[in-house]
Symmetry: D2
Subunit: 259 residues, 4 copies
């Protein structure tokens, strides 16, 4: 089970380096961070742009963590092609079909987040836009849907994991940070996702969430991430074990039936 | 009350001309039609592109109806600047913030459709992206939100009309065709919208809906449009009358109170 | 078009009498008011019980307005049978199937409100529970569904009106007060409902909404009701006129086709 | 972690006995089964009534599994008091406030299911109705909420588990069967729930789901239940372990800080 961790937005070299070293030390597999931020208001912090990508690349150089970062516009594709290891299409752009096609032509893996009111069928169709351009390396991400419930920022649709696993061979990951909108809720959701059979989990981490320029309330502290990562490793190991045991019982039962 | 009518997608010169002449004859004020179509599946008809824009322009030349058509990508801005009278941002792109900014720089009015799960607050913030680039001529369009109810394609949020009128001076129109997803429901919704105080109504019309390349089930036939347009004119006249009467009563009561 | 008006909760004889006389004077057709109130918290005002029913009956005696009031429990059926002219089943009880059956046996008309997350199909099935006990006089009421939008208390599903008119011969009314949750929004929604083809509109009215024991923010003042009632009468007259004109055109066209 | 299992509806003595013996053998802690069934249509199977309760009681006598069964109406309270060990209030009755009060007076534990569109706040208020009558032994159950997604019957709101654990000391369980509506999805959701920190899981089991009189598609077969129960035991053991480890680290860190 892959763990992708990092800040919501790249804020400074120091911030990213601190996080990258920490999550690497805890065994994370990839570094996330946004250089171009889609923000509800035009007057909010919009990301550092290319400078942010350079910071992410520097963190990769030191930690060897591949980086995944969001593509917001066709105009930024040359930058993405230069810096990113994996291209993220955010929830708001899941049906920005031109962008999906362009992302599919970059020649890098694509992480496609489900729109906040997209059906699973629409998510699979959006992936088909990326695939129709020749990209086969696509990861789907459940990150919460919009419902009437307001005690969480979005409602994590955990059922999307088994449903997607029935309908596609593409790997499915979960982002509990955006779904929850509150860091206290993230560990329980991450553990649930791990036990539901995901291929990976994507987490927001910040050394000082109270000072974060974007989505601070949902960022795990470094300590919380370390503890959660230990839990996730244990759950992932158990899941593998259960999966082997299940296959074993199926073989035994098939053997018994044949005898 | 402005009535905007036309096909979902531009399919051919003959189709657009037939519709444009008919809706002009019925008193419509603008012609709508998509040359670039955002479709759930990459294998559906994606629109005629520039050829579609040329057809719309020809229809404008003959009927003098200004044309509104959807902008899907920054790449198409030069074409839009050449052909369109009003730039439509579709529901799927309501939070495509780069596109919003670019649309705001074209120097033409912008019709901004509400995302299917966007709050009214988010719609106003999206308009702010357009406005932040200097465009003051923005029209907001309610076109149905996604809910649990499946007997209509979307749920027309008619309450958005009075809520938006409280919160912004921008004109608000309603698109009942996309909300309903079924032409039989469109007249009742259009009449309701007219009585709710909208500045305009946007309707899909097709001479032969059964053969439409996109969204045929929700397109009005030419006859249905003619009949509905007559009804809308009557309702619009009544609304103006009621509004004058209301202001008259307020003046009288203020006068009485002052006496 | 029938107009049903009255307070959310019966609070006192004076309150009900003031409202009943006023709405009668404005031409309302029925008086509404709750004696048993379903409240989210057990510590909120729960209604006056039988005393409330007696007050309603006194108002009916004076104004000759029939009264509609909510049945909350099988235990209250004898009281309902004695005092009410029409039995209301509230949104929270739309799938309280035992109560539906009991209501169908009382021998009085039943006003069935749609649950806040009930599909139209489920509403029709709930009506079938009432009908299966022999009650044919059932009125369906759209009163807003629960969605992600928080700028209104619920989202008035205006499309339910034409959808229900396609699927059932039962009359359909709209309650814009509960949907809106704010009196400023009620007139626009009521006008929209009137133009959508409803058989009636149900409105909450209070002489002093700031002092109401329940749902004050959505109650119209007496003045607002008077003005809205005048508007609704005009719209209802126009709707009848349009409907006659539509039938006339259809006859003419059938005649022409036959000639 | 408590596991409650059994059929949706009690259909026959043989059916219940088969299930009860099987789930007891697998280590389940309680038996569920409905004798009074709330069904969308009045023409569907409505349950065996008292005969169903007698069958459940017989299964309890043999297996010593306590039984939980749904209360639909105040009229059935004497029967419930005689046969049930725990009173279930179903999702449709979560705001049937009279029934909540009556359930709180029976003197038995109450299992309160969240309404399909009830907020967590409303669920807590509903529990308060039960508690206000003196019942302190209340279990809350998340069983899926209604959203736009149709690939599952409801959307399991897994976030409700950590949110409720923050806001109340009442135990929280999850019913993945009703949420999923399809047995293939139930194991993944049950495992997720187990890892999210629930106090229990409630599962529908049927020896021959294809012949079930109610909700067959979501019932686990006996074999599926046996396998899932083994998995849940392993996850529950791990969760306890992680919880101890977490507390150990906190003590160590507090000790370190104090040193």
């Amino acid at each position: 089970m892959v763990v992708i961790a990092g800040p919501c937005a790249v804020e400074s070299r120091e911030q990213v380096m601190t996080i990258a070293r920490h999550v690497k030390g805890c065994g994370a597999h990839m570094l996330r961070g946004g250089a171009f931020k889609p923000r509800t208001s035009p007057y909010s912090f919009q990301g550092l742009g290319e400078e942010g990508l350079r910071i992410l690349a520097a963190a990769r150089d030191e930690t060897h963590l591949p980086i995944v970062t969001e593509l917001l516009s066709e105009d930024d594709i040359p930058l993405m092609a230069r810096y990113a290891d994996m291209i993220q299409i955010g929830a708001r752009n899941m049906q920005n079909f031109r962008l999906l096609r362009e992302a599919g032509r970059i020649g890098k893996p694509v992480l496609l987040k489900r729109g906040i009111s997209a059906t699973i069928e629409e998510l699979l169709n959006a992936a088909e836009y990326v695939r129709s351009e020749g990209c086969e390396d696509i990861v789907l991400c459940e990150r919460g849907i919009r419902t009437f419930e307001t005690s969480t920022r979005f409602t994590l649709d955990i059922s999307a994991v088994p449903v997607l696993r029935q309908r596609t061979h593409l790997p499915v990951i979960v982002d509990p940070s955006h779904a929850a909108g509150a860091r206290e809720l993230v560990p329980a959701l991450a553990r649930a996702a791990a036990a539901s059979g995901v291929a990976g989990i994507m987490l927001e981490v910040h050394p000082d969430p109270g000072q974060a320029l974007s989505d601070g309330p949902q960022a795990l502290t470094l300590e919380m991430f370390a503890e959660l990562k230990r839990d996730l490793d244990r759950i992932a190991a158990l899941m593998q074990d259960l999966s082997h045991a299940g296959r074993g019982r199926k073989r035994a039962s098939a053997h018994g039936a044949g005898a």
